[in-house]
Symmetry: D2
Subunit: 426 residues, 4 copies
């Protein structure tokens, strides 16, 4: 399905007056404080986050999975879903494919569909953490790090295949998340595993098209429970440096040990020109993959403060590949993704409100109280009218979740697709 533009206009008409009243009051108030509201709205409008192709169905845990109705059962339907989110929010103009779950059968048709929905193909993701039917070799004991060269080669070739698929779609980067590691002390040799990984990544790197990037993800644990080869940003950074200029680290919010200061990692990677991508989600315990901003919104704001700072002050760092990497175990995946997108925009808008010059002055003055006041002043501002304005300017709706429900979108999807479809993926 695709949302009729008239329905969007109707929906907005109901909420326009209230929106305008709030926006005008806020804009006036911010202008008095010297903020350039138009510039902020414009940056919000330009900000686009990729939706991964596996995120449109219900997720689960090792203890089971509860299906959601009307899940997309092929890549076309997944694009349709992203299109629905993008039509409402105008901030999800990209999709990130996971291979082999979502290999296009008709590239031309898929590209036309994406184009029609105003969706770009962002980073493509390889999968060497599961065995595929008919695969010759098993990744049970690792893939790019495996001691067996045959297994490494199969994993390398898979990554090259993924690049080729992405290349036909207009993607410009490959994301490598490596689950390789060990479950028990002694199981593998840390040095050999890292060296093999470095060699494998270098081989893949050589196959990157000229204008592509390689994004190297890190994670401390899960699905391996004793060690992970690329366990932290330091390892990822070291590998990116070993590969070359087009290799970068990718930060996933959920991939850190308890209490990590993620904003500092983001900041340092940007200062070194090596932050290539960012995966959004939220968590309380481990890699919980919850809705962005649902648990620690202030930490997200602090991270965005560093991202904004880096985007303004670190020309050595490339544009980032933004993606939501959450699991939708108990919510309608589309509603969940919309909530995530709103939380991201909120954190971004608030970070844009920080007066960097004033902050720098307070920092130089060691006025710790003032530094905190500056951050909190931005954070405590209710920026929803700014986000609504950016959405409206781009052709989206004032209240995406509300409109999604008013338009009975899930029911329409169930009617079209049936109740018990299951999306490929986790």
């Amino acid at each position: 399905m695709k949302i009729d533009q008239n329905l969007i206009i109707d929906s907005n008409n109901k909420n326009l007056q209230t929106h305008q009243s709030h926006f005008n009051f806020l804009a006036d108030s911010l202008s008095k404080k010297g903020k350039n509201v138009d510039a902020i709205v414009s940056r919000l409008k330009d900000f686009q986050v990729a939706i991964p192709s596996w995120a449109l169905g219900a997720g689960g845990t090792r203890f089971g999975r509860f299906s959601y109705y009307g899940e997309p059962s092929n890549l076309e339907q997944k694009l349709e879903d992203v299109g629905l989110i993008h039509a409402l929010t105008k901030t999800a103009g990209a999709v990130s494919l996971h291979i082999p779950w979502d290999i296009p059968t008709d590239y031309k048709a898929i590209k036309e569909l994406a184009n029609d929905l105003d969706i770009k193909f962002d980073a493509v993701n390889s999968n060497t953490f599961q065995d595929q039917e008919k695969a010759k070799e098993s990744y049970k004991y690792g893939s790019l790090s495996n001691t067996s060269s045959a297994i490494r080669e199969q994993a390398i070739q898979h990554n090259i295949d993924v690049i080729n698929i992405g290349n036909q779609l207009g993607s410009k980067s490959l994301t490598v998340w490596l689950a390789d590691g060990s479950c028990f002390p002694g199981q593998n040799n840390f040095q050999t595993a890292l060296q093999n990984t470095e060699n494998s990544l270098k081989t893949i790197y050589k196959k990157l098209p000229e204008d592509w990037n390689m994004l190297i993800e890190y994670k401390p644990y899960e699905p391996n429970f004793y060690s992970t080869v690329i366990q932290d940003w330091g390892t990822s950074f070291m590998l990116a440096n070993a590969c070359g200029d087009k290799a970068y680290s990718l930060v996933d919010l959920g991939h850190h040990l308890p209490n990590s200061n993620i904003e500092q990692i983001v900041s340092i990677l940007m200062s070194k020109g090596k932050l290539g991508g960012f995966h959004f989600n939220d968590s309380k315990y481990g890699d919980d993959d919850l809705t962005v901003g649902s648990i620690k919104p202030y930490a997200l704001f602090l991270i965005f403060n560093e991202l904004v700072y880096g985007m303004q002050n670190n020309p050595q760092n490339p544009d980032l590949a933004w993606m939501i990497d959450a699991s939708h175990n108990i919510k309608d995946p589309l509603e969940d993704l919309i909530q995530s997108l709103e939380a991201i925009q909120e954190a971004y808008a608030k970070a844009l409100l920080i007066d960097q010059a004033e902050l720098k002055a307070a920092q130089l003055n060691n006025d710790v109280v003032k530094c905190q006041e500056i951050l909190q002043d931005a954070y405590r501002t209710d920026v929803r009218p700014l986000i609504e304005k950016a959405r409206l300017d781009a052709g989206g709706v004032v209240h995406p979740i509300k409109t999604y429900r008013d338009l009975n979108i899930r029911n329409t999807l169930i009617k079209e697709r049936g109740k018990n479809t299951v999306a490929t993926g986790l």
Copy 2:
């Protein structure tokens, strides 16, 4: 020093117009959504948090301490400091004494001073984690839990002395924070240590005046690094039950293992009528004792949601003893406390905005997305105008930190007290 009321009026006059414009807009907007703004402001006005007597000087770590200038060097000056904070914020109308650091020498004079500053004496705190000069017995290996009855008796007597001191000042509760535990496996017998503690607490409990409460704090570690006798809410709850109806658990935000769900603990204790007190601070790693709301303001909001729910639905639970329990290592302690008070009020105000009936309906409907929307709608609201209004109604100032700085209060204190005074305490 005491702030001249005219200075407060002058200060407010400068900010009144902007405040009123913001308040009116917000009040109007909230009223349209069915909120009773007057009732919320009134509850904010009534909310008073105790300042502990040790919190008015600079804190430190085991690696050292950097002094702040103009620290209070006696109890009178400490009350003066609380008076200054209260005059500005009108939400710090209580002090919580720590014995033996702040034993009054002239009870009548101290009570008159407090009365003059509109400050009540809240819970009194005993200290059996340090040895005092001339003490007969040492607490090196524990106090109320010690295997030596002589040491236990000294610690019990100290708590009784604290009750007597508090009683002369109008306090109505005793807070027992027990550092007892062990640094190494095998060092103590868990069962004996807990049994001794229970017996000691019961002995102290018997000496409580009729209208007093005993508040039992828990903490997983520090200053003992292997085990703590009262390590968690379960142990505290068990001990409170063993003592009797006037014994309660006290929750300190910083006293939990990583990733604890503190709001659930608060909720369950209130449902059982056993939450007696609450200590505010914030932390990223351990018991960091940072400014309230400086690290995890959303978690604080979620906790306040449970506190508000409990205050409305759990008549079995008593009024709580609220206290800030932070350490001021690098900020002016008075500014730090004002920032904490504002963060507390903010979380409280936002929690009061939650429509509990609507939330309950969404919960019954398992509409998880809606539940989140309800909480986030309240949280994303900029409630600062409500807090300003409550402060103004009570005779405080619109912007406490700003006024504190405009009035050069710290400089006046330094002039009056000298630069290098050191407050008793941590």
Copy 3:
């Protein structure tokens, strides 16, 4: 398959001399230090740990599962597997069934098979964390805690069914592990969820046969990622007290927040007569369900020190239901279980070596260095000869893993069952 007793004798004959030499030297050395070696060996021989019926196939994670060859595909084969482990180790003389994965079709036959293998039916486990095909109601939003009485009733009835099944097999306790909780703040009402759970448990409790126990497990998170209704020992203890004398807490090693002092929890529960069961595994990060003793063997020893103390000093506490609750993601499940059993026996044997009287004296003397020396002296002792002796005395083998491999047991199972069978369970 069943191992021919002659093969066991053959296997032992090869290793007997070395074993005896080591045992004699150790026994002599321990006797000189005043230890009663016979009594220790005898206690080791008596110690039996249940194998859960779901643990005999490969486990997995939410990212996938790598099968193991020759997995049991029905309850009979699972019993066979437990029988193999028990024949070798003589310490796995019990099985713990998980319902509905392992409902017997022919009770008489199953009981005869178990009897033949010298295996008892220990605690039975209910499952209300997954939806079963044809189930009327879904547990997506909770089971015993659900706001819907129809769902609660279905979950209660399932537990009663489990009791009835267990009763026909000779089980004497029901283990309730409740995954109920929430993934997002606001999703459920903590107080209602706990109250519903308490009421549900009480209803189940009333259906317990006279000589049965109910064991209430707790866990902080997973599969719910914001809150769990029975999140910690305090909640479990409170519920057990509410239910009655036959309700107990069950401790699973992996179900704790980072850095928890589990041995203290074990000790306190035993002192209150409320520790009913214990689930063994090991972990580095979360509920990793790794082989017992593979990550933190010293912590396991400290826990066993408390268990031994409690078994000797807390007559108010019942006999415990011991079970291994690990997941076998990359090892042969049978070998993994044998490694777990050996680690358990090792920790138990070392704990039995602690001179409790000497330890108590050192504790009373606050001789912290000595306390540590006493524990470390026991822990540093190589107790493998004692375990070998206990196994030999009971009819098992000196080196279970070695014999398992020498006898090519896995290959025989693959031949009998086929390569690609999949065991029911996680």
Copy 4:
């Protein structure tokens, strides 16, 4: 005091027979398994760990400190204490000075004293986390990372002074532990702080004598509670690379986030030739600075497995500076240090028992069960006879703690020094 050599001989005479019996049995048993016992004993004998000059008095926490009697009150007495430990254990033949706490007044005399006690001067430690009396600038807001060049220069000069002091004593490395960071979000600019730190370190690096190393420590938090400039190994490694070939990372066991895999960090740093030093202690919660091996001895063993592997396979890595960095809050510091030394030797001895060739073969074979068996076989071996033998061969005693007590050393120290002396340091 110095221990009379005859007393050592007497002490050993009492224990020699038992020792020899145990050693012979173990040596025989290990030889049968193909181990070269002499080589292991010889490596144990050669292993020397530095005692830091601040570790000889009682430590404390921010909540207070309980003194120990007979503490050394000057550098000479501190050396004397190290000498006592070394005489007993023969494994503490080095001291690591902390400046400005332990600046020698008479270099010649100090060197003679050290020489007489067979003690070398290992890495010297600078201190820019505290303000010294009469210091011009304060480190309250940072030292090498400070935004003020005057403060940075003072901190740089201090490090250069420390090098000069060390140089006169024969030290060959400077350890830089930087407490710099922030307590609140926004307080400092992460990029500026790191850049300033890098520049400062480079300036110090240039002043290193030709044959010196610079060791850069990292730590996630404390005494700063929001961020630390050198927060993890990745940052330390980056800085060491920026400085040059003589700059290395230093790993302190307690300086990691919960659940960190430290052995992997050690292994990777060695493979890159960048592990320069190692600080021993143990912890359950944070940087608890407990006795080595008292909480997680298996983790220590796994780390030693990597250290041994690296020493054998990574010629690119330098010899390491080993030091105990523990705090002695409730034990006699000398006994505590002896317990630490024994735990270190135990872990080292067990790691030396691992058959690296067999392990490698099992790893290549993905025989995870076997890998674990190999590690556990080594770990479960009671290696105390090997350590006793190494000590005896070097002229030390069989049972250091026992002899220390038998000889009434603490009492002698109290008599010589008085009861209430306080050692400089933490």
